[in-house]
């Protein structure tokens, strides 16, 4: 038995080492320097306690980036979830070319976010296709392009994010749909249930765990939105998000590490609470059924 123990330990070692060095240690380190005034250039590091946190809560730039992040999360998740569910229902049937559609819808999800951001920057520009489309439909488009107007910039990026993500979650919903036993539907058919009754009484409840998974994963991901902002607007026109703020203040110009680590933890706590709430809310609902 002892021999097994050694083997097991050796086997697990590479993971343990990389995990501790590159994940656990930074996590703790980040927490600690959140209480200091550490800046890359300064000679001295001073303990400032909760000073950073206090300042952050009255820092307009940080707060506005935080509020943008919330707008992003609450604005994309409902749409992404619903649309991906609809798409999953759409490709669930057995018909010719179904696989093609599945792939087509899924393609954007495996493409680099950077690439997508670049393509959409082009589409959103003044005189680009989206502007043309909007004008054809009778809307007035911002003069310099969607990304240059603080009223449309953030929302344009959100729309792009929804476009990109639905394929991925569609597949997950699909898996969920496929795991619902056919017998349930057959039984419902026998008792003469309508389509919508079947959907609301069988499909939706049984999709709860999948939906929960999607919601939690999607929100964790959405709270950290960064790449799109960096590529498309560099935070201008009111598009700065929490992670972009962390990058801009912590990794450029003044390199204010301590201050920004505190900001990172504020975001971390928010994400944690948010996920927890989702988990509890939806879990509880489930038990009612």
């Amino acid at each position: 038995m002892k021999w097994y123990k050694k083997t097991a330990f050796l086997l697990a070692l590479p993971w343990l080492v990389t995990f501790v060095v590159f994940w656990l240690f930074p996590l703790v380190y980040s927490f600690i320097i959140g209480f200091t005034d550490y800046e890359l250039l300064s000679d001295s590091i001073n303990w400032v306690g909760f000073e950073n946190y206090k300042t952050l809560l009255s820092d307009e730039v940080f707060l506005s980036s935080l509020s943008n992040t919330f707008i992003f999360v609450f604005g994309t998740i409902p749409f992404t979830t619903i649309i991906s569910l609809l798409l999953a229902l759409l490709v669930n049937g057995n018909y010719k070319g179904r696989d093609f559609f599945r792939s087509a819808f899924f393609m954007p999800s495996v493409t680099s976010m950077v690439v997508i951001a670049l393509i959409f920057t082009n589409l959103y520009q003044r005189g680009g296709y989206i502007a043309m489309l909007a004008q054809m439909l009778g809307f007035t488009t911002p003069e310099y392009g969607f990304l240059f107007d603080k009223n449309t910039a953030l929302y344009s990026i959100m729309a792009m994010d929804i476009w990109m993500s639905v394929g991925y979650y569609m597949l997950i919903f699909l898996a969920g749909l496929k795991s619902i036993p056919d017998e349930l539907y057959e039984a419902a058919d026998i008792s003469g249930a309508s389509q919508s009754k079947k959907f609301f009484s069988i499909t939706l409840p049984l999709l709860r765990p999948v939906a929960l998974f999607i919601l939690v994963v999607n929100s964790i991901k959405s709270f950290q939105v960064f790449q799109e902002i960096f590529v498309m607007t560099k935070g201008k026109f009111d598009t700065s998000t929490a992670v972009y703020y962390i990058y801009d203040t912590g990794l450029t110009t003044n390199f204010q590490f301590g201050y920004v680590s505190a900001a990172a933890y504020i975001l971390f706590v928010i994400i944690g609470l948010f996920s927890l709430t989702q988990f509890l809310l939806i879990r509880r609902r489930q038990s009612l059924w």
């Binding site: 890359l40 250039l41 300064s42 000679d43 307009e60 310099y144 240059f148 107007d149 603080k150 009223n151 560099k234 201008k236 026109f237 450029t252 110009t253 003044n254 390199f255």
Partner: protein
């Protein structure tokens, strides 16, 4: 006996030669393109020949990541002996004592060079000016003529600029009177601040007690800037504006001496002129910046470093560099009096503008203040019809940064 004597002589000679130890200096600089790098190399070789006990190791930096590299080097204690810094970076390093105070070392040169104030922090000098940079108005003579102005017309006051821009825009759909910058970090403020300063507006009151970004004078300045943008503006980033100007589509743009280089190297056939930034009634104030050479506080060879810096910034070397790079404004007063500069009308304008230019305050907080100003300007010209409110907002934010309540 003879053998021992020979051995001793050999050892003695060896010891002597090794005691003429070479001082090795490390220099980080940004001039890498093929038109100018040879000049840099030549200067280094020349210096090493004159000073055989000093060796220069040069590292090239790019503008995209050079700043970060320098910050990292200073913070980890591995900074080079000599480093080229942009004027807006000096405060950051000076305030943390990463670069050396060279006030005493430069005592005899104060009168010979211009731009010292941009390297002065807390009344101490931290770097030596190498090249200055300013912005002037480039204008298209052909378009002006087309719009009905005669050859001698040069806008020196605001109304001139307005009229000129308006008439050129009226020429037709593909003509614009004014090149207006989009939201570009570290660039937009250099285009707006000239209007601000030309109108004698100030950021802070003289006693530094209050921020007065929303003063009447500032509002007038931004009004003009916004008008030019709305009524005559070709809106794009700096490169796009320059391209359009060189293609003959824009009447007036603000640009720097690199545009002269472009026109010459690309053999552009454009009938253009340069002139001073206009003010309300007389020529106004432009933006002033520059490239500086600083010595790292940790350097063990500060005097040798200063020797090298002095060599690089000597009048002759500056003239040679400017000729190769088409730089308009050397820091050496003597150099600027050379015929190369005085016989060229455009270079003359640049050097005149230096005397009528304002530099941003040497303050580590400036980068934040700059971002706030840029945001306010973007807000005003891109988003709203409001002028006073965004300025008041920015004013409040700046006061917060400076700890003024």
């Amino acid at each position: 006996m003879k053998k021992i004597f020979i051995y001793f002589t050999a050892i003695f000679l060896l010891m002597i030669s090794s005691s003429i130890a070479k001082t090795s200096l490390e220099w980080w600089q940004f001039w890498t393109d093929p038109t100018i790098k040879p000049v840099i190399n030549k200067m280094i070789t020349e210096f090493e020949t004159i000073n055989p006990d000093i060796e220069i190791n040069v590292t090239d930096l790019t503008w995209s990541n050079g700043h970060e590299k320098i910050v990292i080097a200073f913070s980890s204690g591995t900074a080079p002996d000599i480093v080229e810094l942009g004027s807006d970076w000096i405060a950051q390093f000076a305030s943390k004592n990463k670069i050396a105070d060279i006030t005493k070392l430069s005592k005899n040169e104060f009168g010979d060079y211009r731009g010292w104030n941009m390297a002065t922090y807390n009344d101490k000098i931290y770097a030596k000016p190498w090249f200055l940079g300013t912005r002037v108005i480039f204008y298209n003579k052909t378009l002006l003529k087309k719009a009905g102005f005669d050859d001698s017309f040069i806008p020196y006051k605001w109304d001139d600029l307005k009229n000129g821009a308006r008439e050129i825009t009226a020429l037709g759909k593909k003509y614009y009177g004014w090149g207006s910058n989009t939201a570009e970090k570290h660039r937009l403020y250099k285009k707006f601040m000239p209007f601000f300063w030309s109108n004698k507006a100030q950021l802070f009151t003289d006693d530094n007690k209050f921020c007065v970004l929303s003063s009447i004078k500032a509002i007038e300045a931004i009004k003009l800037y916004a008008w030019l943008h709305d009524s005559c503006g070709y809106v794009d980033n700096q490169r796009g504006i320059e391209d359009a100007f060189l293609d003959g589509k824009i009447g007036f743009i603000i640009s720097g001496d690199w545009l002269l280089k472009r026109i010459e190297l690309e053999k552009r056939r454009i009938n253009f002129g340069t002139t001073l930034i206009p003010g309300p009634t007389l020529p106004g104030r432009s933006f002033l910046g520059g490239e500086f050479l600083a010595i790292s506080e940790n350097s063990k060879n500060k005097e040798a470093a200063k020797k090298f810096i002095d060599f690089i910034t000597s009048a002759e070397n500056q003239i040679e560099f400017c000729k190769a790079n088409r730089t308009a404004t050397p820091s050496s007063k003597l150099a600027s009096q050379d015929e190369y500069f005085t016989s060229n009308p455009n270079l003359l304008i640049f050097n005149k503008q230096i005397h009528l230019a304002v530099n941003p305050p040497v303050d580590p907080d400036w980068v934040k203040i700059e971002a706030i100003i840029e945001e306010a300007v973007e807000e005003i010209i891109f988003n709203t019809d409001l002028i006073a409110e965004p300025l008041l907002d920015a004013q409040r934010k700046i006061e917060k940064i400076k700890g003024i309540e």
